[in-house]
Symmetry: C2
Subunit: 376 residues, 2 copies
């Protein structure tokens, strides 16, 4: 049932770059209410004033003007004020591109997310990371670029951005197995900070959540509740976080002296969880708990369990991982491991800033915590 209206098809997005976008300057609409047809006099920003114009107006050299703009020393009070005035009068704003070219610094950093499916970014996880990053970038002059390096093309473009210093640093997330982006990062001439540890190597700079610790916590919780036949559903085996969670699971079971062989791995998705849960049920009908490495999968598992007539948590207890918003609304509400996602983003940005400033910060592992609801 659709609300009737124009259907979206749109014209094919042509190779705009080649067409050489004719600059459109006549966009304008009154900021006032639509009714009163106030033809607001748009202060025609014909062309941004340049530093030369400022200098001329202030009666100083361009160098002096530049010094004032960047408040560098060696400018007399009088000139400084004259320039300041000229800037205000003209509404001068330094041209970031020119500055970037001259200083060889782009004034931007990029958040790159690897993966094979762009839709992955839909995971609310990333949005919160972005917000965290934004919170620290906001206090700097750095812009944030977003790169969903999801296709070969996307990766090539990311590489290009880094090679030509279109960005001064990069935060790299969710690298899988032998991600080609690892090489890109290694050869990048700009600082790289990883979000999450890749599987195959230990980056110099990274921020990660304590996945292993969180998984141990979750599993210990299950053990403490008297569960004895505990299974786990992990993610893809080439994914760092998933493997760390599996480790934590094993840590806890080792301490408890329980069997840790009930492992299945599915896709990090609802369906992946359903499938894995079904397999597990087949394999060990008497299991009494499952630690599931992502809430999305847990949701799927819950569904299968319900269909199989197993009560949660009475028959089988479930603990998820990530604490997604939906975890509060499943039946029953999901006990899960929460990671400080906002902090993850924030700390990645801070670390990147530090590296860009020449420091050599140590990797950071952020604590995770168990959120107890009803499923375990």
């Amino acid at each position: 049932m659709w609300s009737g209206r124009r259907i979206c098809d749109g014209q094919p997005s042509r190779a705009v770059r080649e067409a050489g976008w004719p600059v459109v300057t006549d966009i304008q609409f009154p900021p006032g209410k639509a009714k009163e047809k106030t033809k607001v006099a748009i202060e025609t920003p014909r062309r941004q004033p340049t530093l030369d114009e400022v200098a001329e107006r202030a009666g100083v050299s361009r160098s002096a003007a530049s010094r004032v703009i960047n408040n560098a020393p060696h400018v007399s009070r009088a000139k400084r004020e004259a320039v300041q005035r000229a800037v205000d009068d003209l509404g001068y704003v330094p041209n970031a591109t020119a500055r970037a070219l001259a200083t060889q610094q782009a004034g931007a950093v990029v958040l790159a997310i690897s993966g094979d499916d762009p839709a992955m970014f839909t995971d609310p996880f990333f949005a919160e990371v972005v917000v965290g990053i934004n919170s620290v970038l906001e206090e700097t002059e750095l812009e944030l670029m977003l790169s969903l390096a999801t296709s070969t093309r996307g990766q090539a473009r990311l590489e290009q951005v880094l090679r030509t210093r279109q960005a001064d640093g990069v935060m790299l997330m969710s690298l899988h197995g032998d991600d080609p982006l690892a090489a890109v990062a290694a050869n990048a001439s700009v600082p790289v900070v990883f979000g999450g540890r890749p599987l195959n190597f230990e980056p110099r700079y990274y921020v990660d959540a304590d996945n292993r610790g969180g998984a141990r916590l979750a599993t210990e919780h299950l053990v403490a509740a008297g569960r004895r036949k505990i299974a786990t559903i992990t993610g893809r085996p080439d994914e760092g976080a998933g493997m760390a969670r599996l480790q934590g699971f094993r840590d806890a079971l080792a301490v408890a002296g329980l069997d840790n062989s009930l492992v299945d791995n599915g896709e990090f998705s609802e369906d992946g969880g359903s499938l894995a849960m079904a397999r597990l049920l087949e394999r060990a009908p008497d299991l009494d708990a499952v630690f599931i490495a992502s809430d999305q999968m847990a949701v799927g598992a819950l569904r299968v369990l319900a269909r199989a007539g197993r009560a949660v948590p009475a028959d089988v207890a479930i603990v998820g991982f990530n604490d997604i918003p939906a975890a509060r609304h499943t039946t029953p509400p999901l006990t899960t491991v929460n990671q400080p996602i906002h902090a993850l983003g924030r700390e990645m940005a801070r670390m990147l800033l530090a590296v860009m400033a020449g420091d050599q910060p140590s990797p950071l592992i952020l604590p995770t915590r168990l959120v107890t609801r009803s499923s375990a």
Copy 2:
């Protein structure tokens, strides 16, 4: 209960810009497995080759080389090949910043999201918009910048980005009442495409979901089910989408000849929904249906209804709006209005590209559709 590890505090993010980031060039780690200490020979990217170097190596002028790079005409076949070879040998990649300065085109567009709270971006809605945008940008040479213009500072920076043409176009979302960004947009010297119609004016270029139609659909569904005392919870009155949904609600009730005065408005959040629902219940204990302008609010409302002992949908039917992931997991699963978010992003990007190319596309309204689950 926290997994023990270093706590996140991090140093204060200093004014890195002023410190003048000393370029760090020694970042490197082997792409191979961590165990085998393969000291991979990093192909030291000393300095990117310039066009001059390419030209010299190919034995042509810089102009000619430039023409080849941009595959412009007026280059002999021989030279073209020579340049091509030199490019390959040197691994030349044009410097985007220099090119931007020369052409006065940044090669980037920005997605700006207005609002007073950066956390708003956490709404999965935006992530999906981003994915949609990315899907079309991916085929171009344009980079995507993200601007959470949430503070005055953020807005000022966005303005600066636009004024200095750090970006060639902007997609502007979720403007509220008299958003200062409206003026910024009006005076921007680059194309602006709006996502969603602002309340106070009709932008020249925008893509919107058919909020009004969707709301009508939802309400008609309620009417068709025999409900007679239908209320609605809207969002903040200065929010365009919310008002459009209220209109749709009224449209449907007008046709059915029912009372449309049962309106309450809360914040677009779970708590906002709870509060509004409670007020409504107080005001009209005999209501038998509620159309709620956002799923987040609906979740809150559902909670209140359950606590009040009203069965959903038996006693009161609920329809939400947005079709967030959690809508499938509420009790009961939420009937809601789905909007094509991915398409929204995609069409915004396409429209922006079109405007940048000099076209004057018409505004676009994307259809919404009712997703029937159990709550109504």
